[in-house]
């Protein structure tokens, strides 16, 4: 059995499409609609047990892509309906615009992540005034009635929808150490130095954490990171040493973990 776990790889159809196209960007003349469509469909294939709502989104984009590909395979036909042709072009432009928007906010998210990481290193003082001033602060219960306490209680007791945080639409995707390496290669250069605990704080599954750890060992073996553990069982410091240039994941040879 190969190592396969759920990891959020693609956040949505645009995310996937962006990834597939930009992956081919290495040589721009190699970028091929045909290959992208095939890869896109292959990815959908992998999401077999996918949430229906999410599947719809992916399939909508797939339909557009297939249409584009079909049109491309039949160039220069005279009997093409001009309206259909125009509509297809419009759809293509729309898709392009959405991809650009998606990419824009992905880049913003990268900056946000960096800002938050920097801000997280400082801790605010929230201690408040000491007991010398107790009794001075205004009464918070002013205007609050038993009825409002009652309503607040009801609100608190309403079962909250379980936060199926972000994983729900990608959960069925099988991922591997290779995918974890790809994620880390994207994330670590931005983080610079980070602890293993922080690096895995967003992960819910034990297996995901293990796979991330194996991916780190892989990167360590490749000399792209340094690992430091100050005490036994202490948190592990991860330091990216691979430089700031984007790393082609394909260039990293990864051992298969078969079990």
């Amino acid at each position: 059995m190969s190592f396969a776990v759920a990891t959020p790889v693609y956040e949505g159809p645009f995310d996937l499409l962006l990834h597939l196209i930009l992956r081919e960007q290495v040589d721009i003349y190699e970028v091929s609609l045909s290959r992208i469509v095939d890869a896109y469909l292959a990815e959908i294939e992998r999401m077999n047990a996918i949430d229906l709502d999410v599947a719809t989104e992916f399939l909508l984009i797939a339909a557009t892509l297939v249409e584009l590909k079909a049109r491309r395979l039949l160039p220069g036909r005279d009997d093409v309906d001009l309206d259909e042709e125009l509509a297809l072009w419009e759809e293509r432009d729309l898709l392009l615009a959405r991809l650009l928007e998606c990419k824009t906010f992905k880049d913003v998210a990268g900056v946000f992540s960096r800002l938050a990481d920097e801000a997280d290193r400082s801790f605010p003082r929230t201690t408040g005034a000491d007991e010398r001033f107790a009794g001075l602060a205004p009464d918070l219960l002013e205007g609050i009635t038993g009825e409002r306490i009652h309503l607040a209680y009801l609100r608190a007791m309403v079962p909250k929808p379980t936060p199926r945080i972000d994983l729900f639409h990608v959960a069925p995707i099988r991922a591997s150490v290779a995918d974890a390496v790809a994620e880390l290669v994207d994330e670590l250069p931005r983080a610079g130095r980070i602890t293993f605990r922080r690096l895995t704080s967003g992960l819910a599954e034990r297996l995901e954490i293990i796979v991330r750890f194996l991916a780190l060992l892989e990167l360590f073996k490749q000399g792209m990171i340094e690992l430091d553990q100050r005490e036994k069982f202490g948190d592990i410091d991860v330091l990216w040493t691979g430089g700031l240039e984007p790393v082609a994941v394909g260039s990293i040879a990864i051992d298969d973990y078969e079990g």
């Binding site: 003082r125 929230t126 918070l140 609050i144 038993g146 009825e147 209680y153 007791m157």
Partner: protein, 199 residues
């Protein structure tokens, strides 16, 4: 020289830790965290307090029962009082109100029980409510952890104009859905436009 460098770093770490601490920080704890003898920590804190004093800062580092803490300088109390009276918004957060309501109806209960109902760590809220005198530690759990059990205070009842907890509106066994609660609340706002309805 090397010793001075170590001291300087230790002093900065003391400043950082005491600055963000909610409670006074015991010298023993600082000693342990900074891997220095307690005597060294105490000497450095004394020197630090004297240096603040000398520089005429508006705050001081003082040693109280539990350890070291920052506080506003005594001679600036009038400004601090003015700030606390006028400057701070008197507004109970939704989180605080919900936590207070849970305690009011389910007391006595532990921090962990509150956390499991609200789904978030209630520590900061509990501290606020306790500092305000709305809740208090009423008991200890008999279980292994001997967790603190919280309950509301008489001051809470007085502020709400209630004679006893029995005067709180009764709760049904079933819990209504979120939109029912919202509708109830909307209805309440229309019936009685309380002064705080706008907030």
């Amino acid at each position: 020289m090397s010793n001075e460098r170590i001291d300087a770093e230790t002093v900065r770490a003391i400043e950082a830790i005491v600055m963000v601490a909610v409670e006074p920080v015991a010298p023993d704890l600082l000693a342990q965290l900074l891997e220095q003898p307690t005597a060294v920590i105490e000497r450095l804190c004394n020197e630090l307090a004297a240096a603040y004093d000398e520089a005429g800062h508006g705050f001081e580092l003082v040693r109280v029962a539990g350890g070291y803490r920052y506080q506003s300088h005594a001679d600036l109390a009038p400004y601090v009082e003015r700030f606390l009276l006028d400057g701070q918004r008197a507004r109970m957060s939704a989180a605080a109100l919900e936590t207070l309501a849970i305690i009011a109806y389910k007391q006595p209960l532990s921090r962990a029980q509150i956390a499991s109902i609200r789904g978030v760590d209630p520590d900061a809220v509990l501290r606020t409510l306790q500092a305000r005198g709305y809740i208090t530690e009423v008991d200890r759990d008999t279980g292994p952890g001997q967790a603190i059990l919280y309950g509301t205070t008489t001051s809470f009842l007085e502020k709400l104009g209630l004679n006893s907890l029995g005067d709180l509106p009764p709760i049904a066994d079933f819990v209504p859905s979120a939109d029912v609660v919202e509708a109830l609340e909307q209805g309440l706002r229309i019936d009685a436009p309380a002064p705080d309805a706008a907030t």
